[in-house]
Amino acid sequence: MTIASEVLSSIQSAFPGAVLDSRVESDRRLWATIDSNKILDVCKHLSSKHNFDHYSGSAGVDWIARKEMEVVEIMASHGAHQVVAMLKIKTPRENPSVKSLTGLYWNANWYEREIWEMFGINFEGHPELYPLLLSDELMGAWPWRKDYKGYPDLTTGERAVEITTPDGYTQYRIPPTPAEVEAGTVVLERPKYPSFREREELEIKSDSEMIMHLGPQHAMVPGPFLLDILVEGERVKKAFLDVGYIHKGIEKIMENRTWLQGITYTDRMCYVASLSNNECYCGAVEKILGLEVPQRAQYIRVILEELSRIQSHLIGTGEFLTLVAGVGYAPWQYMIMDREKIISLIESVTGARLTHTFVRFGGVRNDLPEGFAEQCKKVLPYMKSRTEEFIELFAQDPIYSLRMENIGSIPAETAKRMGCAGRVLRAAGVAYDMRKEDPILVYPELDFKVVTGTRGDSADRIDVTLREILESIHIIEQCLDRIPSGPIKTEAKIPKKVPAGEAYYRVEDPRGEMGMYVISDGGDKPYRVKVRGPFYATFQTLTPLLEGVYIADAVAIAGSMDGCPSEADR
C-alpha cells in the first residue's frame, strides 16, 4: 500500500525542484508546498501514477504577515490507498492568482469559486468564476481576508457605496480598487447573477418551455436553496442551482472565537450531525496539541456518534419519503417516533436534544449516566427490528419501487469523478467510508461493514442508509460490551493558547466525508478553520443529475441525497 513518504519521493523524482517544502506527518498525511507553476503537472502525475482520483476540496489561507496567500489542495484516493496529500500553492498577496484545477477535476469548480469570492484569489482557466455563497454587493470586499473590517467598511466607510434601489431599499456595494482591477483579481465582466425574469429571457427558447422554482422556500428542501428548473413538458431540460441563502460565515466567526468557544459553532453547521462536527473540530485541535484521548472517552464518542448517525438517517429518510410518497406524513411519523427514542438516549448523556457541544479537547463533557447500557439494550433491538421492517416494507412496495428505482442513478466512475460523498457514493458501489479509510478513535478495533449498493439510484441510497443503521447498531452493541472504566478527560492540562501548527482531520459524518483543516499560529484563537462538508461535495452534482429527468423525479433525486444546505453554506 502506498504511504505518504513514497508519494513525496515520487513527486520529487518526477519533478525535481517542484517541492519547495514538505513534511510527512504520518503514513497517511503528506504536507507539501508545490511550485505554483508545476501544480497541474504534479496533480496529473498523482492521479495517473498513484491513484489520487479523489479531489477532496481546497482551502484558502491568508498569511497577512508573510504577505502571501496560500491555496491548499486536498487530494485523496477512493480506497486505493489512505494517503491524503495536502498540496500548498503560494501566491503573493498583492496579485493573488493560481492555476485552476477545474480542467483535471470536475468538482474543483465550487471550491475555487468559494476561495475566489472570499479571498480574491484569481483562478486562471476557471470557466465560471462568479459568486457562490456571497451576495453580489459583497463582492470585492474579500471577507475572509485577515484585513477585512466588516461590512460595510465600518472603520473608514470609504469603500462601501450606498445605492438606493428603485423599490426604496438601501444597498451597499463595494467597488474594486484600481489596484485590484489592474491586478486582474476582479473579473469585471463576470456573469451577473440573473434575476428570474432575466433568466427566463435568457434561457427560454420556445413556447413549450418554462422555468419552475423549487425553493428557496419549498416543502421539498430541508433548508433554503434555490433550484430553478427549465422544463419542456414533463422533462427537465436544465437546472440552475443557487446556494448561499443560509451562509453564516462560520469559518470566519471561528477565527474570532477562542479555541473552546469554536466547538459551539461547529454544532450549528448541521444540527442533526452536530456530534460528528464536534468530533471533527476537536479531533483536529487534539492533533495539533498532540493529546491522547482516554479509552473510555473514545468509546463514549463512538457510541454517541453512531447514535447520532442513526437519528440523522431516520430523520433524513423519513423527511424524504414524505416528499416522494405523497402519502401525507406517515413515513415521517413512524421514523420520528423511533428517532425520539434515540434522541432521548443522546439527551440523557449530553443534556441536549440537538446541538450537543459535547466533545471536548482530549475527552468528553459528561460520563455516561447510570443505566445507560440497559436503556440502550432495550432500545437497540427495537430499532433493529424496526429498521428491518422498513427495509422489507420498501423492498416489497410496488409504488415505491416505481418511484425510486433507476431514478437518478450514478455509475460508480461518475460518482467518483464528481466527488460525491457518503450515501450517494456508496450506493453507486464505492466502499468509501472514513471510518475505514482514515480510522479515528477506536473504530479500527470494531467490527463493521461498509454498506454499498449496486445501481446508485434513489432506491439504493435509501437502502444503504437503512442498512447503515443496522451497522451502527452493531457498532454500539460492541462498544457497550467493551467500554472500559476510567477517566473521561485527559490528565494533561489544555492550554488556552494552542501551539502553532496545522492538522487535517476527517470523520464520517452521517452524510459522508467531513474534514476540517485547522491552522494555529500559536494564539488563543484559530488562525483558520476550513470545513470540507460532505453535502457541499454532493450538492454540486445535483445540476447535471437533473438534466433530462421528469419533474416529479427531481424531488426524488434531490431528496435522496439527504441534503443539509445549512452545512453546505456554513
Binding site: T258, L260, Q261, I263, A330, E340, S348, A352, T357, Q396
Partner: protein, 199 residues
C-alpha cells in the same frame, strides 16, 4: 401478487395504530421526563459564587453580565457581583458551567421561560439563584466580614509596628533596653483606638 403485497402494507399502519405511543405531543398537560444531565435554565448558588466572572469571559455569545445582587456571600464575593444571563442569546452550550471554578453554576431541568418582551428573558441573579442568603444572614455575614477585616488590619498594624520597632532597635544598638520597650508600648496603644474605629 401485487394485491397481496398492498394488503400486507396496509396491515402495517393498523399494527402501529394499536400501539401506545408517547411523544412530546403531551407537552402542555404533561412534561416530558428530563434526564439528570439536562442542560436547562441555569441555577446559581449565590452562597458560594466568588464573582470571578470566568463564566462571562468564556461565553461564546457574550450573554453573561456581572450585576449587583444583595443576597450573596460578602465574604467570598467582595464586590457582590453575580452573573445575569440574557436567555435571548444563550444557546445552552454549558461552557459557563464547565468553567466555573467553584461549581456554583449548574444547569437544571427548568426549561420554560417565555416572556412578552425581549427584556423579560434577561434573567438576573434574583431569578437564577436557587440558593441564597436571607437579608439577616447577609447583615450577619457583613458584620462578620468587617470583624475579620478589622482583625486582619489590627494584625497587620501590630506586625508593622513590631517591625518598625525592631528596625529602630537594630539601628540604635547601644540604646537602653527600657527605652525601646517603652516605645513599643506606645506604638501598641496608638494602634488601639484606630481598631475600634474600624470595627
Amino acid at each position: 401478487m401485487l394485491k397481496i403485497k398492498l394488503l400486507k402494507n396496509f396491515s402495517w399502519p393498523l399494527k402501529i395504530a394499536t400501539q401506545e405511543i408517547e411523544i412530546t405531543r403531551l407537552y402542555p398537560e404533561k412534561m416530558m421526563e428530563l434526564p439528570a444531565a439536562e442542560r436547562g435554565i441555569h441555577e446559581l448558588d449565590a452562597t458560594t459564587c466568588i464573582g470571578c466572572s470566568s463564566c462571562a469571559r468564556v461565553c461564546p455569545n457574550n450573554c453573561i453580565e456581572m450585576v449587583h445582587f444583595k443576597f450573596g456571600s460578602p465574604l467570598k464575593n467582595k464586590k457582590m457581583q453575580f452573573p445575569q444571563i440574557d436567555f435571548g442569546r444563550c444557546m445552552f452550550c454549558g461552557l459557563c458551567v464547565d468553567e466555573c471554578p467553584v461549581e456554583c453554576l449548574k444547569m437544571g431541568k427548568k426549561v420554560i421561560m417565555a416572556g412578552w418582551e425581549r427584556k423579560d428573558i434577561i434573567k438576573g441573579p434574583e431569578f437564577l439563584a436557587t440558593k441564597r442568603f436571607s437579608a439577616k444572614e447577609v447583615t450577619d455575614l457583613e458584620a462578620e466580614g468587617k470583624r475579620i477585616a478589622a482583625e486582619k488590619a489590627a494584625a497587620k498594624k501590630a506586625a508593622d509596628a513590631k517591625k518598625a520597632a525592631e528596625a529602630k532597635n537594630a539601628s540604635k544598638e547601644g540604646a537602653a533596653d527600657a527605652n525601646g520597650a517603652a516605645k513599643k508600648k506606645a506604638a501598641a496603644t496608638e494602634a488601639k483606638p484606630k481598631e475600634g474605629g474600624a470595627a
